[in-house]
Amino acid sequence: MHVSPVAAHSAWAAPTTFPTFADLDCTLDERPRAEDDQDRELVRRCLSGEQAAAVTLVARYERRLFNIALRMLGNVQDAEDVTQSVFCNAFLSLASYDPRYRFFSWIYRMTMNESLNMLKRRRPMVTLNEESSIPGREPAADAAMEAEDRVGRALNELNANDRSLVVLRHFQSLSYDEIAEVLKVAVPTVKSRLFTARQRLRLVLLGQRV
């Protein structure tokens, strides 16, 4: 892949020192296994009819699933729909969940698939509207809004596969292994696709500056 020379983008000039990125909060820590065990226990209790367990499970994953869908779709209302639909489908088929696998990867995959289906369905239609799209699509007022705005627009320019990798890695902080589990692909494939997706995202972001 072609890498743009720094000279062409003075704003991205190399720093005088070369960090090892240890200062960045982007290590590939695995999810605590205890969390997966808790999920399994919650699922078991749900299946035995315990409503409190369902409430807990929803509380645990609502925000995460909503944000995955939001980043995938760029639209709050669609993200709500997908989140709701995923939970409904998940609980409807909870009995088919295999506890040998981790619950998060099962429900994350459902969220990804539902989001991709939503993208396919709306492909020929203009669905973004100003009221419901991610806040920050309007001219940004501050740094955080600017980041939201730039990233949101850049994500929209990626294809769905690239976007899913970026979302899982950077917005859900999943490890390569976990992404592989969610997307059901091999870890080397995750790496190579993620790197490519990031290269594309980088170019889109650079393009925004021109």
């Binding site: 890498v3 991205w12 070369f18 960045l24 939970f87 409904c88 790197f195």
Partner: protein, 390 residues
């Protein structure tokens, strides 16, 4: 030009996925390669930018909506799972669809959103309201045909009396008291004399449906009758929003679409959401056009529609074995999948005719059902009608 492995080295370092050896190699690369330094800097800035984007809190109502959905599904799921194994085709699909979409629609209403799934609920109602029954319900109308009265539930109480009777051309005369009763009704006569009705009656599939056991079974079903008699269903069918939807091109195209026909006819449909055919249906141009349509949105927001979905009779109907059996009948499926039948259903004039009480009264008459079985008897009936004076 950086090599792929060098680019990967940078990405892995950035991700904290480096070994001590690869970290050392990374530092070495940056020292000697300006392009690597540039890329590393750009990627670092990108990581920082991505890190500044924070999670958004879901809307406050979302959790309650989700939990309400789950509770509703929990109520519905056991009954679906308990459906007889022999009802693996349309029956199962209808059952699940009716229950699931009803529940979903309640939640959609809560969110004031028009999910695509709502289209299925409307479509099912439309199938029942038009393709199956062929008339808007009119449970509060008194009638003179087929034993209908103010106190008689909508349906055909006397249907069995004529079940095996063969009506011939000779039976269809003005001298026949039953025919006379029909043709003495001004509205019915007007309907029968209309071109669109006459053309429809010359369609074999249409007539087959009018006289089918499945339709009789359906209309004799208590749950169905309760629904038909319900004020909510009556209001829905009478509502401007529903009439607009029913006459809407997108909706009609959906009903006439190949995807819809396949979805209805498929034996493989066991689950609405997970089914490929349903997904194709959802992805079809017709469905998408429908979702974007004002008339569709109006029905979604219509109070009467919501009441129908919440109506106990509607739910009972969805869970009723006899009704499911009727819906699964080959005759009904064949009729709905038949091109000629769909063409009739797509006819504007006929839709208007179906919206009249006269059509309902005519359809409820046993003699009409009986004569519908025969092309010759039907033709004779039409001729008698033409001779009768309005």
């Amino acid at each position: 030009m950086l090599q792929p492995e060098q680019i990967e080295l940078i990405h892995r370092e950035l991700d904290g996925d480096s070994t001590p050896e690869s970290s050392a190699a990374f530092r070495e690369l940056l020292l000697v390669d300006a392009e690597a330094r540039a890329l590393a800097a750009e990627l670092r800035e990108m990581h920082e930018l991505l890190g500044r984007v924070k999670d958004q809190a879901p809307p406050p109502h979302l959790r309650n909506t989700i939990l309400a959905s789950i509770r509703n599904f929990a109520r519905a799921a056991p009954a679906v799972a308990a459906a007889p194994s022999s009802l693996q085709s349309l029956v199962r699909w209808f059952t699940l669809q009716l229950r699931s979409t009803t529940i979903r629609m309640e939640n959609v209403m809560l969110m004031k959103k028009a999910l695509v799934i709502g289209g299925a609920a409307v479509a099912v109602i439309a199938i029942i309201g038009f393709a199956v029954t062929g008339y808007p319900p009119s449970g509060r109308e008194s009638g003179t045909i087929g034993g209908l009265s103010d106190t008689t539930p909508v349906g055909v109480q006397q249907a069995s009396r004529y079940r095996n009777r063969t009506v011939t051309e000779r039976d269809v005369t003005l001298a026949n008291p039953e025919i006379q009763v029909l043709l003495q009704n001004h509205e019915i006569l007007e309907l029968v004399k209309s071109d669109v009705f006459r053309n429809a009656m010359r369609n074999d599939e249409f007539r087959a449906l009018q006289s089918s056991d499945a339709l009789r079974q359906l209309t004799a079903n208590d749950a169905f009758k309760s629904l038909m008699a319900s004020e909510a269903y009556h209001q829905l069918m009478a509502s401007e929003a529903y009439r607009r939807l029913a006459s809407n091109d997108a909706f009609r195209r959906l009903q006439a679409s190949e995807e819809f026909r396949k979805a209805l006819a498929s034996d493989a449909l066991r689950s609405l959401r997970g089914n490929e055919l349903y997904r194709k249906l959802e992805a079809s141009d017709e469905f998408r056009a429908l979702r974007a349509n004002d008339a569709y949105r109006a029905v979604m927001a219509d109070e009467a529609f919501r009441q129908v979905l919440e109506n106990d009779a509607f739910r009972a109907m969805a869970a009723n074995d006899a009704l499911r059996s009727a819906l699964s009948s080959e005759a009904l499926r064949a009729a709905m999948a038949n091109d000629a039948f769909r063409a009739v259903m797509a006819n504007d004039a006929f839709r208007k005719a179906m919206a009249t009480d006269a059509y309902f009264r005519l359809h409820a008459a046993d003699i009409f059902r009986a004569l519908s079985r025969s092309s010759a008897a039907s033709e004779a009936f039409l001729s008698e009608a033409m001779r009768a004076k309005l």
